[in-house]
Symmetry: D3
Subunit: 213 residues, 6 copies
């Protein structure tokens, strides 16, 4: 029997963790691994800069070293903080949600777009995608000026951003933040294109890694 998939929210906002927990319910299956969501107590209330992202890496590493039962790890922050370092330091599979969300989108359509929470994050996401060598299939991002909390409920705003991305050629959309999980289904229904919730996508990759082991 394998250990759990740990989903680490690297900010200290337990409401975000609770939202992730609800979003992952469909992935808890009979005979499959447990999926356990953790809040990083040492994290900032939100990861909103590179500095914030750097600051959570060593605490996440310490937390994960204390959980030798884990079968796989998901870092549930769209800037993928510490993912490469955790891969270097831990023997188990490690997944970042930006990476996973984008990979899931690539499995659904030739080109994808991302709904970002702020203009400022777009340049960081683009920089990350170049590092991943995946810019060729990215149509771009559209920012909705919403807080994490608002983003779950602002369906009309998300829908408008999604339509703009479709018009730019996106055949699939990625939600560029952990807070929009509840909007995923309604948005997909309204737009008629696949909409990827990135923590779900990362957990699916983790399930694959654990079940195939």
């Amino acid at each position: 029997m394998s250990g759990p998939i740990l989903v680490v929210n690297p900010n200290s906002n337990a409401e975000v963790t609770a939202g992730l927990d609800r979003a992952l319910a469909p992935f808890r299956l009979g005979g499959g691994p447990e999926i356990e969501c953790l809040t990083l107590a040492e994290g900032p209330f939100g990861v909103e800069s590179r500095r914030d992202g750097d600051a959570v890496i060593l605490p996440m590493l310490a937390l994960l070293r204390s959980r030798s039962d884990a079968a796989a790890v998901v870092v549930a922050c769209y800037s993928d903080p510490g993912v490469e370092t955790l891969r270097e330091q831990l023997a188990i599979p490690v997944f970042g949600i930006q990476e996973a969300g984008v990979l899931a989108a690539l499995g659904r359509a030739d080109r994808f777009g991302v709904i970002a929470l702020s203009e400022a994050s777009i340049a960081r996401h683009r920089r990350h995608l170049r590092g991943l060598g995946l810019l060729d299939r990215w149509v771009g991002e559209e920012a909705v000026a919403l807080s994490v909390a608002e983003s779950a409920h602002a369906l009309a705003t998300l829908e408008e951003a999604g339509r703009r991305l479709s018009a730019r050629g996106a055949g699939a959309l990625v939600l560029g933040c952990t807070g929009m999980a509840e909007a995923r289904g309604p948005l997909a229904a309204a737009l008629g294109v696949p909409v990827i919730e990135p923590t779900q996508a990362a957990v699916a990759l983790a399930l694959h890694a654990v079940l195939a082991a």
Copy 2:
């Protein structure tokens, strides 16, 4: 309750289908979708050329149109025949195993390599990867001169190919054929790097699409 994930083996070799069926056992989970493996009666005994790949597209489409219960489709042939056409024609998610295997590898390591069954297939795979925009992270392929049937049992040969790919910088390996599923675990254990069985990878993407819907 969702319909099944259909895994279509587009060749008419039922032994290959049976092998896939065994490889997918771990992905049949309580509360999750059924996973049903089908043999394409009209297919050639093996898909070994572009022409073979072209010939199976319309029969697969007809087969899948007759299965309106399906929740998602996996085309279980490493040359991904018909995947784009099926996406165009069907309303459900469609996954190709080369695409899915490579995406899974990208979620585990910066660069990956592929163990191919023949030299001749490498150029086709490379061509496909350029079309997917994913060549940047591909270290290359190593061919083992084995039949599909032999490939399941020739662990030493596969291991040697895998070591060559690791030496070329591959941090993850993809098995470039449907016949090597049984070798996946031993190979990963011997080499100490993630080894991706591509039909499992595609089924995991399909699970994600179905469970998140």
Copy 3:
């Protein structure tokens, strides 16, 4: 004495074939190969989807196998259906008109644009160009919402699309359909940039292959 260059129109619309035949008249030269235009009886009336393109591959292959006198083949459909398969299966040179049109444009200018018949085809063309590794020099496509029949006569509409592409940096234009051949000359005169009719471009490549052999 070499055999003919066969230009296969993979749809069953004989008027399109007749238009191609007229457009190729200047390439029938004393001492050069014959240029013979064929209609694929088994083809759809128009190739308007990937599925349509897949459906014509095996019939084209059968037709061409029956013509062992052929010196080279041009597939006269802008989606280049079956080109790679025919190259695999036949010993003679095979040319696709999208490929050829784009290569001709690359020989005339640093960057090129394409006049497409529909928005829907742009994404397929872009996907094909990525596969060919030629996106760097593509400024984009502009769609004119015309039928194949209308496109030959709608000079003002084509001119407007051409001007938009020039403004985006295109130094040469490719007509993204077989039906616009008659508009080529007037359009080039009106816009002052090279305008490539892709079947002519493919026949020129075929002439090269045959004459140099």
Copy 4:
């Protein structure tokens, strides 16, 4: 009646011009344009450096300005000296033979290789291909240490270079110098892959431009 296609040999070695003239005989067709080969009197005996290439640009421009009858120009030196400048300054189509040779190869195979006359030229060719955005499909070059004069007759040496390029994945070969035209046919026969003589390829593009005008 259109004017001639001018093929300018930018070095002053008239034997090279005579060789080009013979190689182009098959492209002189009834009803087609004349093909006239010129030697640049002001050119060096061979173009063997960037400096040599720079030095021939203005004299070529002067020569071509004196030939207002020309319908198209081919610059018959594999380093493509002055091609962009001539395009800027002249109203007629201008073709470089490296560009044309590579474009012809791209119309025959997914990836191509080049037989170069010297190791030193490979870096310059590679640099030019990056500028053209065509590196993705280039498997590399193999140098044969031959003079221009020797290269026409050293079939065994060329064949060996060609086999090495095929083994690296080249499905078509380009002769990277104007002096190897006589070897083209025997080499293609020996190797079983398309072998492109680049001045022929450029003349074919020029024929297309002139005939379609």
Copy 5:
């Protein structure tokens, strides 16, 4: 004691040279190399085409061969005429200002933009950047329709172009002409992003080469 860094203005407009001389004053440091600005007497009054650029290469080479005391050379024209040829022919380091300006921008920000003097030059700059393999980090260029002389004083126009480039994602700006040096400081202050004067950037690279030798 090393020889001087020679900054060659390849046009014959001595006012441009004088402006460069003033702009380079801060780089004349105690114990460092002299920085000497030269006007190319044989140059055109302005380098405004590829032809102009070609015409200055051999005269620059002759001038530099006469200056065996030089420790390094900067070609002070944004089209980088002759830079590769001078590198081939001279034993000392050679720097082009477009190259240097862009490299300096890459050291300050993820993506950069360029303020060009004319629409016509943008395509040439873009072509050069593809040749340098640096397009991935270029957001584009904005042209100000100014003469070289006007460009030094048209701060409002430059600022507007700079803001458009920032909005397109540029984190640093390069002045795409030798005439705007005086505007550099005010522009950087107004926009709050690094603004690179390319001759200064090239002299800094030359200083590095000379001081480290």
Copy 6:
């Protein structure tokens, strides 16, 4: 009068800092900024993993916040830890030495190679270069199995690595570690190609930024 350029050695090995200090002596010029080398007391004895790199970011940030007099910062570790974060958090120019070394090499030659201290670091460097979009011009790296201390004196070993990189097409070399500065001059003399010491290159970029301000 501007403040100093701070060169931060993020490891706690003061001997490395002393070596940097000596290597930077030529860049201390009359009238130019001071160049001050600092050892990060909180750093590990060597930065040998991503984790080590992550661990020094916040201490470097604290150190630099305490030095409001600084005019520019150089992070003197070849893995460029914290460079993007420092750029986000500080108002002054920040330079990483891998970035700067590579940019300097790009200003000297079409393609460059890197002498790395260990095989393990090559994959990290390659990953960083993809993120920077600069892989096109990188021929690769050759590892010398030396400690940082040994690397300064093992000229024969470095020379052999340099020759291998030249044979792979490198026209300039970058020393991929802070410890080899003393070998720079002898290596360049022995190999006849530019050899870049990356901390010197970064200080030259910093000088540019400070002098032009």
